[in-house]
């Protein structure tokens, strides 16, 4: 009985250490989450300004789309930009995302050589490599609050590949941050830039003005569109990273809860074992006394 008592004590000690770690990790993730949310706010100003101008230009000059990112090509190869995490301990963050991408590939009946994968985050890269997909680009080690400069490489790679017709359509798969407790897998077509998205301008009244264009509208469009595409991709990476921090905070908070439950039940077990040890001892003593009498 004594050994089992010690065993339980040891398990309680180790579980409470684990709990300490998971609760610290939860706090770290929560801090990162609020940090990235603050950053996301300042980014929205930029993306909105860009969106409004592109929307205005695109709706007014919708006919001249040849050779731009608006042009619809016949799709022979489909690119998927999969934004997963580098690290584990984020609950179902990666698995639900990757499952969704696989389901989409099956649904569209694409073979492995019709698919080009661009992977941001190690989990996605490893997953698709193992399954024999063409991983044309992988990027690991996106920082916790990615800056635009850091992401620029990824973004430019994606738009250059599209220009070079490595793929004719780019879909972005990522976990969209809904709230602190839930994420949602989003699969969006990013290139060619969809004009439907652009028409829903956020501020209808502002862009009715007749603009002077300098140089021509087409030339401006050819400058602004890549910038817009870059901003879109950066936005999704920010969103995905936000979701990752939320998922991580969540996973760690439930791990902490579980540890607490285990410690509670172990404590109960420990007390029971201790009590029964005492009972046995008393029985032995009274038994001994009876024998002496």
């Amino acid at each position: 009985m004594a050994a089992s008592l010690q065993d339980i004590q040891r398990r309680i000690a180790s579980t409470s250490k684990t709990r300490q770690i998971t609760s610290a990790m939860q706090m770290v993730s929560t801090a990162k989450l609020s940090q990235i949310q603050r950053h996301g706010g300042s980014y929205t100003v930029y993306s909105d300004a860009l969106h409004d101008v592109v929307a205005h230009l695109a709706t007014a000059h919708i006919n001249n789309v040849k050779g731009t990112l608006l042009e619809q090509r016949r799709v022979t190869k489909v690119g998927f930009l999969v934004i997963s995490s580098d690290r584990g301990l984020v609950g179902g963050y990666n698995s639900t995302l990757l499952k969704e991408v696989m389901a989409e590939i099956t649904r569209r009946q694409l073979t492995t050589d019709q698919v080009v994968i661009l992977a941001v985050g190690g989990n996605g890269a490893d997953f698709f490599k193992k399954r024999g997909f063409d991983v044309a680009y992988e990027y690991r080690g996106v920082s916790d609050v990615p800056t635009f400069d850091e992401v620029r490489e990824i973004v430019q790679m994606a738009t250059t590949m599209y220009d070079n017709e490595v793929f004719d359509e780019l879909n972005v798969a990522y976990q969209h941050y809904v709230s602190r407790i839930s994420n949602e897998v989003h699969l969006e077509k990013m290139l060619p830039v969809s004009t439907d998205d652009l028409v829903e301008s956020k501020d209808e009244t502002k862009f009715t003005a007749d603009y002077e264009m300098e140089p021509s509208a087409e030339q401006i469009l050819s400058i602004v569109l890549p910038q817009y595409a870059e901003s879109l991709v950066y936005g999704t990476i920010l969103d995905a990273k936000t979701a990752e921090h939320a998922a991580s905070a969540n996973a760690m908070s439930s791990a902490t809860d579980n540890a607490k439950e285990i410690i509670d039940s172990l404590g109960l077990k420990y007390n029971r074992a201790r009590q029964s040890a005492i009972t046995t001892e008393i029985t032995e003593i009274t038994g001994g006394m009876a024998a002496l009498n």
Binding site: V45, Y46, T147, A209, Y211, E214, I220
Partner: protein, 138 residues
Amino acid sequence: MSEHTLHVKVVTPNGIIFDYETASLVVLDTTNGSEGIMANHAPIIAAMQVSEVKVVDEESSFEEIITISGGFAEFSENTLTVVSDSAERAQDIDVKRAQEAKERAEKHIAASDTDDVVRAQAALMRAVNRIHAVTGSK
């Protein structure tokens, strides 16, 4: 806001870098050449070069130079919005770092490893632009 001033904003992915409500003149370097914008200018969208934006407020003799790396400018309803993927106020520029970046870019161009050249040239332009904004020499 008085009638003879305009509102200037410089917006980047990292937020609003510069915001000034009562500028009297803004000088932009568009791809078509220099362009001065004053209050009540006709609405305009212009593509920008890797260049400097000069904001002047005559009334309070304020002048500020912001370097931008391309992008575009949009003016309507007396508000000028410069949208660029990076921008810095001249006072925040680290000249030493810019100098280093310039030398690095020049080395890359000299070595001319094919597709790196375009990127190096762009980097060189940015570095030169930033140095110029502070020291006034290229």
